[in-house]
C-alpha cells in the first residue's frame, strides 16, 4: 500500500532541519530566509522612481451580503461565483445526503423556534442571537470554496476589495476580516460601502440608492460619493418570502384533501417561486385618496383597473417536496400580492406603521424630504434601485410611480399635517394648482389680460410670475458651458427618475479596475497587531492632501499610510 510506505522516516528527513517550532512569526522578517520585502522603500529622492508608484498588486473583489457572498476579479462584469449559505452548504464533510435520490422529494424539517429562513443567512445585524464563531466557520468555508474552486489563484498575494453594507457591527467586521487576513493571507483589504459602489456602477456621483436586501431595505442618499442620509425599513426580502410562503400555504391547503396536514412550504420553495414567477403590479391600484387634485388634473392618479382577462391566467407550480407531490395552479394575479403586501402595504394607513417598517415608497419619500434641497434635486433624479428583490419584474416601475405620486400630492414640505398648518398647505396647494391651470389656459388661448375683468389693465404681475429678462452674456456663458463643460444630461435634476445600475459587485469591480485607492484600507500587519481598535477615530483620512506634498521619495510612504481609519464603519 502506498500510504504505508510513505510513513517511513526517510520521507521526512529533508524537512527536519528546519526545526519544529511554529513559525508563523518569522514570516515577515527572518534573517535566515531571504525574501523580497513587501514594500521596498526607496531610500532617497535620488532613487529612480520605480514601479512602486503603481499599485502593482492584483485585487480580488468580494461582496459580502447577508445571504450571499460574491467573489471575482476586477474588470469583469459578473462575479466568478455567488455562494449561498443554505443548510446544504453547512453539512459535515462526507455527508452526502443531498445526493440521495429521495432527497429532492423530502422537505427539510425547519429548525423550530427560529426565525424564518434563519439557517440561510450568513449573519444578521442583531448580534445578540448570532454565534460569531459560526459566522466565521460559514464564511471561511465559503471563501475556501471560492478560492479552491473558482479563483484558482497562484501563490501571489492578492489585495481584497471588500464591498460591505455601511452599517456593520464591529464584531462582525472583525470576524470577517480575521478570516480574510489569517486564513487567506491577504496583504491588505480595502473596504468600500455598497451604496457608493452601486452609484458608481450606475455611472453616477450622486444617487438615492434603494437597496432592497434580505433583512431590510436601506435607502441611502449618496452625494458626490458620500453617504449623506440613510433610512431603513424591514420591508425587504425576508418579509416578502414569508408572505409568499403564506400565500402558497393557503393555496395548497385550499386544494388539499380534507383532513390533510397543514401545508408548510419551506423557504427554498417560497424563494424559488418568488424568483421564478413572482412579479409586481407596476401601476398601483386605484384606492388612493385623490384629496387635493381632481382626477383630470393629475393624470398619474387616473383610475386604473386591471384589464379583466377571461379566464384569468394561472401559473402551474410543481411542488415535488409536498406530501403527496403536487402541482399547484395559482392565479397569476395573486402572485403579485406578496410583493404588494410586503413592500407597499396598501391596506394600512400611514399612522399604523412604525418607524422601522415603513412601506418602501414612504421610506424613499421621507428620505428625499429630509435631504437638503440641492441634494434632493440631484438625488430625486437619480433613484437607483438595487438589491436581490429589485429583480422582480415591475417592482422598479411601481416604486418610482408611487414616489412620484407621493411627491405630487404632498409636495416637499417636511411639515405634514399639523393643526392649522395642514389647512394652509391645502390652500397653498390648491392655489398653486389653480395657478398652473390658469397659466396653461392663458398660454393656450391668447386672451389678452386686459380683457380679464379681475385684473387691472396695467397691473404688473408679481415678480415670481414674470419672465426673467434675457441677458445676452448669460446666454453666451450658458452656451459655453454646454460646449465645454459636462453635457447637460449629466446635470439633470428635480424630477423623479430611475437609473439602472449593475450592482455593488460590478461597482467594486470597476473601482478596483481603475486602481482607485479607498479611504478605508486595512493593512494585514496592523490589523493583526491591533484589530479594529487600531483605527483612528477620524472618519476621513484624506488621500489627496498626502498626495500633493510629496516628492518621489515620499510618495512611497504615501502608499503606506500613517494611520488608517474605518470611515463610515467607525
Amino acid at each position: 500500500m502506498a500510504t504505508g510506505s510513505e510513513r517511513k522516516p526517510p520521507a521526512s528527513l529533508s524537512r527536519s532541519t528546519r526545526g519544529t517550532t511554529p513559525r508563523l512569526a518569522d514570516l515577515g522578517e527572518s534573517p535566515r530566509t531571504p525574501r523580497t520585502p513587501l514594500l521596498r522603500s526607496i531610500s532617497s529622492t535620488f532613487g529612480s522612481p520605480g514601479g512602486s508608484f503603481r499599485t502593482e498588486d492584483e485585487y480580488l473583489v468580494i461582496e459580502l451580503g447577508s445571504r450571499f457572498v460574491r467573489g471575482g476579479f476586477p474588470g469583469e462584469s459578473a462575479p466568478r461565483c455567488t455562494l449561498s449559505f443554505g443548510p446544504d452548504e453547512q453539512r459535515r464533510v462526507g455527508d452526502y445526503r443531498p445526493c440521495e435520490p429521495e432527497y429532492v422529494h423530502k422537505r427539510r424539517k425547519t429548525k423550530r423556534a427560529q426565525a424564518w429562513a434563519h439557517e440561510y443567512e450568513l449573519y444578521r445585524t442583531d448580534l445578540s442571537r448570532v454565534d460569531l464563531g459560526l459566522v466565521e466557520d460559514k464564511f471561511e468555508r465559503a471563501m475556501r470554496e471560492a478560492y479552491a474552486k473558482y479563483f484558482l489563484l497562484d501563490t501571489k498575494p492578492r489585495r481584497i476589495l471588500l464591498a460591505m453594507p455601511p452599517r456593520m457591527p464591529h464584531p462582525l467586521m472583525s470576524t470577517v476580516l480575521d478570516v480574510l487576513f489569517t486564513s487567506f493571507q491577504t496583504p491588505s483589504i480595502t473596504l468600500v460601502s455598497n451604496p457608493v459602489l452601486v452609484a458608481a456602477a450606475a455611472g453616477l456621483r450622486s444617487a438615492l440608492v434603494v437597496d432592497i436586501g434580505w433583512a431590510e431595505t436601506v435607502v441611502t442618499a449618496v452625494c458626490e460619493y458620500r453617504e449623506v442620509l440613510e433610512r431603513r425599513s424591514v420591508r425587504a426580502g425576508k418579509l416578502l418570502s414569508e408572505e409568499m410562503a403564506s400565500l402558497l400555504n393557503a393555496q395548497l391547503d385550499r386544494d388539499a384533501a380534507p383532513g390533510a396536514t397543514k401545508a408548510d412550504v419551506s423557504f427554498e420553495e417560497a424563494d424559488e417561486v418568488l424568483t421564478r414567477v413572482g412579479w409586481c403590479k407596476s401601476v398601483p391600484r386605484s384606492n388612493r385618496r385623490t384629496l387635493y387634485f381632481p382626477a383630470r388634473e393629475a393624470p398619474v392618479l387616473e383610475e386604473f383597473e386591471d384589464a379583466v382577462e377571461s379566464p384569468p391566467p394561472t401559473i402551474t407550480i410543481p411542488f415535488p417536496k409536498h406530501t403527496p407531490p403536487t402541482e399547484l395552479s395559482v392565479p397569476f394575479a395573486s402572485l403579485a400580492k406578496p410583493t404588494e403586501n410586503a413592500l407597499f402595504a396598501p391596506e394600512l394607513t400611514l399612522s399604523e406603521f412604525d418607524d422601522e417598517d415603513l412601506p418602501l415608497h414612504h421610506l424613499i419619500y421621507r428620505a428625499l424630504v429630509q435631504l437638503p434641497i440641492d441634494v434632493r434635486r440631484l438625488c430625486m433624479a437619480r433613484i437607483v434601485i438595487t438589491g436581490g428583490v429589485s429583480n422582480l419584474p415591475g417592482l422598479k416601475a411601481r416604486i418610482l410611480k408611487e414616489v412620484e405620486a407621493l411627491a405630487q400630492t404632498k409636495g416637499w414640505d417636511p411639515v405634514k399635517s399639523y393643526g392649522k398648518a395642514s389647512a394652509r398647505r391645502e390652500d397653498k396647494l390648491r392655489n398653486q394648482c389653480e395657478d398652473r391651470e390658469m397659466r396653461k389656459q392663458e398660454g393656450e388661448d391668447t386672451v389678452a389680460p386686459s380683457l380679464d375683468p379681475n385684473t387691472a389693465p396695467n397691473q404688473i404681475p408679481p415678480a415670481a410670475f414674470q419672465q426673467p429678462e434675457e441677458d445676452a452674456i448669460d446666454n453666451k456663458f450658458a452656451q459655453l458651458a454646454v460646449r465645454n463643460g459636462p453635457p447637460p444630461a449629466s446635470l439633470v435634476g428635480g424630477t423623479i427618475r430611475g437609473v439602472e445600475t449593475l450592482g455593488a459587485w460590478a461597482g467594486a469591480s470597476l473601482v478596483a479596475q481603475q486602481r482607485i485607492k479607498g479611504i478605508v484600507e486595512i493593512e494585514r500587519d496592523r490589523y493583526l497587531r491591533d484589530g479594529l481598535q487600531g483605527a483612528t477615530r477620524e472618519k476621513e483620512v484624506s488621500v489627496v492632501a498626502q498626495r500633493q506634498s510629496m516628492g518621489p521619495g515620499l510618495a512611497v510612504k504615501g502608499g503606506e499610510r500613517a494611520s488608517w481609519t474605518l470611515g463610515v464603519w467607525a
Binding site: V93, T155, P171, R205
Partner: protein
C-alpha cells in the same frame, strides 16, 4: 447522517485553538460569560459549529512536526497545476485567469442538469449541394441542446471560441475591440449631432439619439461602457497630478515629460494653479448611464404570464451561469467546464508540506502524503447483537445464532443496546487508550451511554507475520467477558483483542423522543437529525515513541535507539451509532 451507520467523525483541534485573538476579543464582547466555561465542555455534535470541525478520518492529514491532526481548515494550499477535469488538458497558469478558469476547448456542462454536453452533427439533408455541416451541443441526459437557444456551430472543434462569438438566437457577439470601435463611432456621431443642433435644447438631442432603435445594451456592454468612461475621466485628470495612484506608465515619453515638468519650476506652478475639474457623471448610454425603462419589465411579466413556470430558471441554474442575471430558459448558455487544480498542502503553523501530488495530470499518485490514517487510531463502532435474552446453554452464543442484520435506523428508546467500540492502531508502538464520554449525550434526546471498559491497551502495528509466528496464547475469549451466570457483559474487561486492535463494549440506552413531543405539545418537536444517536467520545492515547524519529535520522542516527519519550495525544471523536426510532 447520510453516511451509512455506523460511522465515526474526528474533530480537528483547530476548532477551538485556531481562533485568533481578535475573534475572541469580539466574541467576548458578545458572550463574555459563556467563554469562560468553554474549556470543560463536552463536544456537542448537535452544535451547528460542529459541522465545521468534524471530518471523517480519511479526510484528515497529520503533521508530524506539530504532531497534530490537520483538517482542510488548517492547511495552506498551493496550486501546482491547472487542468480540465473533462478533457484532462493541462492549462498553463498564464491563461488560467483570462479564460475565466474555464476550459476553452470543447468541454461544456448542461445548464439545466449539469452533465457534460456532447457535440452532435445536425442532419444535413442537402449536404451534396454544398451546404456546410452544422453542429450543436446536446445533453445526453436531459436532451437539452443549443438548438433551443438558437446556437449552431460550423465546426466540431473549438466550440468555446465559436460560442464566444454567437449570441443566443444566432446573432454575432462583438469582441471587446469591436465594442470599443463601435462606441467611438457612435460617440462621434452623437457629438456631430450635438454640434449641428442647438446645444441648449436637450429635448431634440435626446430624440435624435433615440431615433436609432436599438435593443437595450447587455450587462457586458454597459460594464465596458462604464469602464471606458471612468478610464477617460480619470485620464483627463491625471496630467494635473502625476502622483495620483491611477494608471501610470513611466516608459511612455509623455509621462516622462510630465515628470520632468515637475522639476522645472515654472510649469509646475502653472499646473498647480489649474483646479482639476471634478469628474463628471455619465451622461449617456455610451458612458454607461441607463435610465430605467419599464418596458422590459412589463415584457417579462407578460412572458411569465404566457409561458408559465417552465420558461423560468431555478436559482441554482441561474447561479451556475457565467452571467447570473438571467430569467428565462432561452437565455441559457452552455456552461464551460470549470478547471480543477492539483494542490499541495502545507501545515498552517509549521509550513511543512503535508501532501503533494505528482504533477502529471493523469497520475493519481502522491509524492508526499501524510495521512491521519497512519497516525491516528481508527475508532469504529458496530452493534453487538443483543445478548438479551441470554441463552445459557451457549455461553457466547450471541455471535452466530441470529442471522438477521442489525437495523441501525430503528434503535428503540429505553432498551439497552450494546455496541462494540473497535480501536485499531496504525502506530508501531503499543498504545494505551483512555476513552471518556459524558454519561448522557448532549442534545435534546438524551441517551445514556456507558463505556464498559474505558481504559485498555492496543498492541503495536507490527509485522503481520509476527502475530502468526509467535506462539501467542489463544486469543482472549470473549466468553470471559460475559458473565456466565447472568449473561451480562462484565465491566472493566475488554471484549476482544487482536494483534493491533482491541474492542470494548459500550452500552447505550437510547433516549425517548416521545417525551419531547409531549413537552412541546405539538406533533413534531424535533429538528432534523435530533433523533440521531451520536456519541461524543474523547480519546486519549499514551505511547512511547522514538525521540524525534526524523531528527535523529539526520544528526546521530546510530546508537540512540534506546532513547524513547512518552507522548500523548487527545482528540474528540463523534460516533454515530444509529437513529432512534420514533413511534
Amino acid at each position: 447522517m447520510a453516511q451509512s451507520f455506523p460511522y465515526t467523525y474526528y474533530a480537528c483541534d483547530c476548532f477551538d485553538s485556531n481562533t485568533t485573538t481578535s475573534t475572541k476579543r469580539a466574541s467576548q464582547v458578545v458572550a463574555a460569560a459563556a467563554a469562560t466555561e468553554d474549556e470543560e465542555q463536552t463536544f456537542d455534535p448537535q452544535n451547528p459549529r460542529s459541522n465545521y470541525a468534524l471530518y471523517p478520518l480519511e479526510h484528515l492529514l497529520y503533521c508530524e512536526d506539530c504532531q497534530q491532526i490537520r483538517c482542510p481548515r488548517c492547511v495552506l494550499e498551493e496550486t501546482l497545476n491547472w487542468y480540465c477535469p473533462s478533457c484532462l488538458f493541462e492549462v498553463p497558469s498564464s491563461v488560467v485567469k483570462s479564460d475565466g478558469n474555464r476550459c476553452t476547448r470543447n468541454c461544456f456542462n448542461c445548464p439545466i442538469c449539469i452533465s457534460p454536453l456532447v457535440v452532435n452533427l445536425l442532419e444535413n439533408a442537402d449536404a451534396d449541394q454544398g451546404t456546410p455541416d452544422r453542429h450543436i451541443l446536446i445533453c445526453p441526459y436531459c436532451h437539452w441542446s443549443t438548438l433551443e437557444t438558437g446556437v449552431e456551430f460550423e465546426k466540431h472543434t473549438g466550440v468555446y471560441a465559436q460560442l464566444a462569438r454567437i449570441a443566443n438566437g444566432g446573432k454575432h457577439i462583438p469582441t471587446s475591440k469591436e465594442r470599443d470601435k463601435e462606441r467611438e463611432r457612435r460617440k462621434e456621431l452623437e457629438a456631430r449631432q450635438r454640434d449641428s443642433k442647438n446645444p441648449l435644447s436637450p429635448s431634440s438631442e435626446t430624440a435624435a439619439v433615440e431615433t436609432e432603435a436599438r435593443e437595450p445594451p447587455s450587462r457586458d456592454d454597459l460594464f465596458s461602457n462604464l469602464a471606458a468612461f471612468y478610464k477617460s475621466q480619470l485620464e483627463a485628470q491625471t496630467p494635473a497630478n502625476p502622483f495620483s495612484p491611477g494608471e501610470m506608465n513611466f516608459s511612455s515619453p509623455s509621462a516622462y515629460s510630465r515628470i520632468m515638468n515637475l522639476y522645472s519650476t515654472n510649469t509646475a506652478k502653472k499646473q498647480k494653479r489649474v483646479k482639476p475639474t471634478p469628474m463628471r457623471e455619465a451622461a449617456s448610454e455610451l458612458e454607461g448611464l441607463v435610465i430605467y425603462d419599464p418596458a422590459s419589465d412589463s415584457a417579462a411579466i407578460e412572458r411569465i404570464k404566457r409561458d408559465g413556470w417552465n420558461s423560468t430558471l431555478s436559482p441554482t441554474q441561474k447561479l451556475a451561469q457565467t452571467n447570473p442575471h438571467l430569467q428565462f430558459a432561452d437565455e441559457l448558455r452552455p456552461i464551460p467546464t470549470l478547471l480543477c487544480t492539483k494542490r499541495s498542502k502545507r501545515c498552517r503553523s509549521c509550513r511543512h508540506i503535508l501532501s503533494k501530488p505528482e504533477s502529471k495530470i493523469t497520475s493519481t499518485r502522491y509524492k508526499i502524503k501524510l495521512l491521519a490514517l497512519n497516525h491516528i487510531p481508527r475508532l469504529s463502532i458496530r452493534a453487538l447483537p443483543p445478548t438479551n435474552p441470554p441463552i445459557p446453554s451457549i455461553p457466547g452464543g450471541s455471535t452466530a445464532s441470529q442471522p438477521q442484520p442489525f437495523n441501525y435506523n430503528t434503535l428503540r428508546s429505553g432498551i439497552p443496546t450494546h455496541f462494540l467500540l473497535h480501536l485499531s492502531n496504525p502506530l508501531f508502538d503499543p498504545i494505551r487508550v483512555t476513552l471518556a464520554t459524558s454519561s448522557t449525550t448532549p442534545g435534546k434526546v438524551q441517551s445514556r451511554v456507558t463505556i464498559l471498559c474505558p481504559q485498555f491497551d492496543v498492541g503495536a502495528n507490527t509485522d503481520v507475520w509476527d502475530d502468526a509466528l509467535s506462539s501467542s496464547p489463544a486469543p482472549m475469549a470473549r466468553r470471559s467477558t460475559i458473565n456466565a451466570e447472568t449473561g451480562q457483559i462484565e465491566a472493566g474487561k475488554i471484549w476482544d483483542k487482536g494483534r493491533n486492535w482491541t474492542s470494548v463494549a459500550i452500552e447505550v440506552v437510547p433516549g425517548f423522543l416521545a417525551d419531547l413531543k409531549n413537552v412541546s405539545g405539538e406533533e413534531d418537536g424535533l429538528d432534523e437529525d435530533d433523533d440521531l444517536l451520536e456519541i461524543p467520545i474523547f480519546v486519549r492515547l499514551e505511547f512511547e515513541a522514538d525521540v524525534h524519529a526524523e531528527e535523529r535520522g539526520l544528526s546521530d542516527s546510530r546508537g540512540s535507539k534506546a532513547e524513547r519519550e512518552s507522548r500523548e495525544q487527545a482528540f474528540w471523536t463523534v460516533v454515530g451509532a444509529g437513529r432512534i426510532a420514533g413511534r
